[in-house]
Amino acid sequence: MLSALRNNILPLFFIAIFAISFTTDAYSQYLINLMLVYVVVAQGLNLILGFAGMFAFAHGAFMAIGAYVSALLMNELGLPYAVALPMAGLSAAAVGCVIGIPAIRVSGLYLAMVTMGISEIVQWVLRHWKPVTGGTDGIGVASPSFFGFEFSDDFQSFHIIFVVCAVMTILAQFVVRSRLGRAFVAIREGEIAAQSSGINVARTKVFAFAISAFYAGIGGSLFSLTQHYINPENFNLYQMIMQFCMVIVGGSASLVGPFIGAAILTWLPELLRSAQAFQEIGFGLLLIVFVIFMPRGLAGFLIDRNILPRERFSRAPRVEPEQRAAPPVTVERT
């Protein structure tokens, strides 16, 4: 029974969230929506930062691209949300590819700086390209509608956000348990051995950019639904650091980590209310403390204590292989 609980923690989470949504007030609903949005963004960041070990600083920018593309497609072109949402993800992914292709030639400090530079440039474009982005005034976000029904308040947009979050989680699970997920980990641990096993490292890294940008773009589009109005300040340095916090506090290299991180870091600012200063100090200290004392985050901690199952990197559970006849050579036992 307990084992069934452990192994299905994510589906249970979704069921619980859905059940709770019948009883929440508007403000809590808003926070739940926000948390689910952050789960999506954190999943994407986790894929490139936690699993692939690549230090990419550009996710605020990808999120912004997703949010603005989604809002503009609906506002200016009148496209339905069902089109705007995937377009948000795809356009962010496209930019991710474009950045990724040259960026993977550099690593470490250089990758961090290039991606930070890109973040700044996107911010600058958002602030100065007034005719399109509204500059620092930002733009309003139309409510999505499906089959003529408008999803205008938080309770209604919850359903959209919930479904998208669930789908993106299933996708993340698919990635992690496939060749791609294993390739990410191999790249993190040693590119040379990865190459010698046949992994095309450059291609895999570009894809890491693209897929994590896709997540950020989708997250950005969902984010715009929760805010109803977006401006460049929503996607600034502070936002990026919060995302990093989610991945580190929650636990990198684990699918459950982003959930833990998003949950804690959505509700934490509520406790630390008003002063931006206190929020900054809070996030900063969280990052430092976790990185020193609990580098694999809360998920890592729980996995080490056997409370959570270890992250699997292969598909369906295997049937125990039959014992073969006595082998010609025996490796020694520990």
């Binding site: 400090l109 890109i118 440039i121 600058w124 931006q276 200063a277 900063g284 990185v291 580098p295």
Partner: protein, 298 residues
């Protein structure tokens, strides 16, 4: 003609600041392979330290300057000891995870220090008075701000001093040895812990000097550090991360081009210049203008 000269003086002095900040980044990166995202905040914190000493406590400028520099050195060493060393000496992490962890630690420091400064001083910008009571000086037909002149002079002196430090002093040579080959350095008995403290202290001092010199011109505010960080990185990229003078040349180049862009194209373009330089240089000529073609530090 006079306008060009003025623009040049502004550009060169800005560039010297970028070079100073960039030098701090280069020092830490060369020694430990760590991109110090908190460096801009050291710049900012030292400027505020000078403000507290001079404006609030009324200490004379020169002494305040020295106090601020001492503050910077201590802060830099403290940061390294408390927030960086525990991670890089943690054997339990894989190498890639250690790299990511250390960078994130500097990111966390960045925002913590910024938040701490915001509590007392977040509401408005403040002014630190310049080093001299006369605002400007006239050389020939050129009117130049005395503060800017000071910046250029200090930067020049520092470049020479630091180059000599690395070439001639025992500590400097040990720092170079450690940055080139850490195992070798340990083998010959260099206490790498001391080296790291010294490196971070020196880097913080560079950034701190820039902060105190810059404050009268750009005004004090908790967010002043992050902008400087990018520009410092850009200067370091142009210079190629290898030589002390390279960073300054890179910074000056950047300062000049930036101001001319701003004057003749649009002021808004100035902000975007640093990130563009970073991206273009790193992607197309990672060794910068002066660096030798060396393996990118992986």
């Amino acid at each position: 003609m006079m306008e060009i000269a003025t623009l040049l003086s502004v550009g060169v002095s800005n560039g010297c600041l970028y070079g100073l900040v960039g030098l701090g980044l280069v020092l830490v990166y060369n020694a430990q392979g760590i991109p110090n995202f908190a460096h801009g905040e050291l710049f900012m914190a030292t400027a505020f330290a000078a403000y507290v000493a001079n404006v609030i406590l009324g200490i004379p400028y020169a002494l305040s300057f020295l106090i601020a520099i001492a503050f910077a050195a201590v802060l830099g060493m403290l940061v390294e000891f408390l927030a960086i060393r525990p991670i890089s000496t943690n054997r339990a992490l894989g190498r890639a995870s250690t790299d990511v962890a250390v960078v994130l630690s500097t990111v966390g420091l960045m925002i913590t220090i910024k938040g701490l400064a915001r509590i007392p001083w977040g509401d408005s910008v403040r002014k630190l008075p310049g080093a001299f009571s006369t605002e400007t000086v006239t050389i020939g037909s050129l009117v130049i701000s005395t503060q800017r002149l000071l910046i250029i002079v200090v930067a020049a002196v520092l470049t020479v001093c630091i180059s000599l430090f690395f070439a001639r002093t025992s500590l400097g040579k040990k720092m170079r040895a450690t940055s080139q080959n850490i195992t070798g350095a340990k083998l010959i008995g260099i206490n790498t812990g001391h080296i790291y403290s010294a490196t971070w202290g020196l880097a913080a001092v560079c950034g701190g000097i820039a902060g105190v010199l810059a404050a009268p011109i750009i005004f004090l505010h908790p967010d002043m550090g992050t902008r400087m960080l990018l520009k410092g990185f850009a200067a370091a990229c142009l210079g190629g991360f290898g030589s002390v003078s390279g960073v300054f040349v890179g910074g000056i180049l950047m300062g000049i081009v930036e101001i001319f862009f701003g004057r003749y194209l649009a002021t808004s373009m100035m902000d975007i210049f640093a990130p563009i330089i970073i991206i273009v240089v790193l992607l197309f000529r990672p060794q910068g203008l002066f660096g030798a073609r060396r393996a990118v530090r992986v």
